[in-house]
Symmetry: C2
Subunit: 348 residues, 2 copies
């Protein structure tokens, strides 16, 4: 089970990893990497490799469009060919897509082997690599196939962030904003004041918020749903963006739009003061400039929202804010509220 | 978690199922059936259907060769199209292949929804439907991709056995023999004396043995490995049978061969008296006549055995018998012992 003890934010990644390998005596060690991390990150780990065991490497292409069952089959076959047994360890070295998919493949290979996440993007460090959600997309449906599976350890090496472009960092910003809004007013004030200046502190705060929520409710029966704030609208926009905006929005861009939308919906039905929704809007827009949506997409977004995993009996249940730092979940939102907001927001 | 309380051997299947549906108020009820159970079994359930909820039906082809990830994709897509949410229930109505695959699809759809197994073959009733092992094959590797996932309930309706051909019943016989040999000398004596006369009693005994073992060790760290008796050699023979025997052996036929092989290996290295191994051989041969293997397959069988999920560090670990009703697990068996037995057994 996930807890803060097996998440390390460290500047001595190799030492931490070595200690784990010495303790657990895995029969094989396999790195799952993509075309980015094989160049930028793996060499840093392997150059000081002092273990007797020679690691294997499985490389996959980077990007959400490869987060498919077909790619899992490739990974399962590779593991089989390598003759990985149940005593093997897979190390996910990459961003959210890689950690999600690698975790799923590991949790299902021979009914489950150990894995470690070494997230290399800010998004993965503050979100995807922790909490035990694994999975892949099924056509347009994000994470439709997956399991809850908890990594043996998560090793966060903030220095990897230096290898990232700004657009990629922003994916993480959206999740940090979300964490502040649902659970930590103090973090929100820090953000409002200083922006994303001190990344290490923001990672620590985010990891603490997410881990605390997940440890109370690992399988998302209750308060874990808080973490979906911004994501009901966000996921739908992300899926439809090629048609709606003419390009694939990043996860961060979509969640940023989702946070703004769900803040105003919160103001309308969940008690968040409108002035706070305006402040949230203002802060998010510093990093995520407005996107021009084609009018008339509101119905399509609504239809996709109905597929959200949190729903039950065809009704849309959202996580909203009753105040800054105070998320509430399982709030049923009527179609007209959603359509009204989306139409208004996109009509100018 | 699996326990005897949620396994019902019943002659009033519809009433049992109704009670569950009334209690749990699922948002949807979906039957997974194959071309056999849609005709022989589903109508018996639906003809007295009194629930307000109209069940959906997903049909897949019957047979181990369809136990693939591709078929899972079909099921996941169907579930998506039906708009099954996390409150939906899938009912696996079929044999071992269907229960294994349906359980895996359910455990991974939206990270897990509830399922019920209604096994329709003897093999599924005494083995596959209970115990929480789900999965599909990956090329020649059986159950290479899967998870442990426990059904909400297992409803065993022995009357379904009347729809089965003798060859299919025998798949169950092999597993019942296995249960007796690893854990229940009394059951073995009953079998030796009366054969498979009173199926209901044999089902009850088998379910009790398997459930007891599984509840002590659901994730196969220790004593659950007992249940693999006959299957290390059996699985390999099953996989290679098209080349070795010129036809696909049934699971029961392969396990029967495995039970004989592993009994003689037990006599050689685990303490089972040779006279008992001879008796086991004699009993099994009443139902499973000797199969003519092509000579020279021993090496190929051995190589496949090395892929068995129970192995570690490339060494073959088997479950053997130190006596009738007394299984022992994690016994390392050297290559020469295995090759010697297989070569001798197949040289006449």
């Amino acid at each position: 089970m996930q807890n803060l003890k097996n998440i390390k934010i460290t500047n001595t990644l190799n030492t931490e990893l070595e200690n784990i390998l010495i303790e657990f005596k895995y029969s094989k060690v396999i790195f799952l990497v993509d075309e980015n991390t094989i160049g930028f990150c793996l060499p840093l780990i392997l150059k000081n490799w002092s273990q007797a065991i020679k690691p294997e490497v499985i490389k996959i292409p980077a990007g959400e469009k490869f987060k498919t069952i077909a790619r899992c089959q490739f990974i399962w076959r590779k593991l089989t060919r390598i003759k990985a047994d149940r005593g093997a360890l897979l190390i996910n070295l990459g961003g959210g897509v890689l950690c999600d998919m690698g975790g799923f493949c590991t949790a299902t290979y021979k009914r489950g082997i150990d894995f470690i996440n070494i997230p290399t993007t800010l998004l993965a460090m503050v979100d995807a690599a922790i909490g035990g959600k694994t999975g892949v997309d099924l056509g347009p449906f994000k994470n439709q196939v997956g399991v809850f599976a908890f990594p043996q350890s998560v090793l966060i090496h903030p220095a990897f962030l230096n290898t990232l472009p700004y657009a990629e960092l922003k994916n993480g910003y959206a999740e940090i904003i979300k964490h502040a809004l649902i659970a930590d007013k103090k973090l929100w004030l820090t953000l409002s004041e200083k922006g994303f200046e001190d990344t290490q502190i923001l990672i620590e705060a985010s990891v603490a918020i997410k881990t605390q929520i997940v440890s109370k409710d690992p399988f998302e029966q209750n308060e874990r749903k808080l973490l979906n704030f911004g994501h009901t609208v966000g996921h739908a926009i992300e899926m439809l963006s090629p048609e709606m905006v003419g390009r694939q929005l990043s996860h961060g861009e979509a969640v940023a739009e989702g946070i703004i939308a769900e803040s105003y919906i919160s103001a309308q039905i969940a008690g968040l003061p409108y002035a706070e929704a305006d402040k949230i809007n203002g802060f998010v827009r510093r990093y995520f400039p407005p996107i021009t949506f084609t009018k008339g997409n509101a119905e399509a977004v609504y239809e996709l929202m109905r597929h959200d995993k949190k729903n039950r009996d065809g009704k849309i249940k959202m996580t909203l804010l009753k105040g800054v730092g105070k998320g509430v979940y399982d709030i049923e939102v009527n179609k007209d509220v959603i359509i009204a907001y989306l139409t208004e927001a996109w009509s100018d």
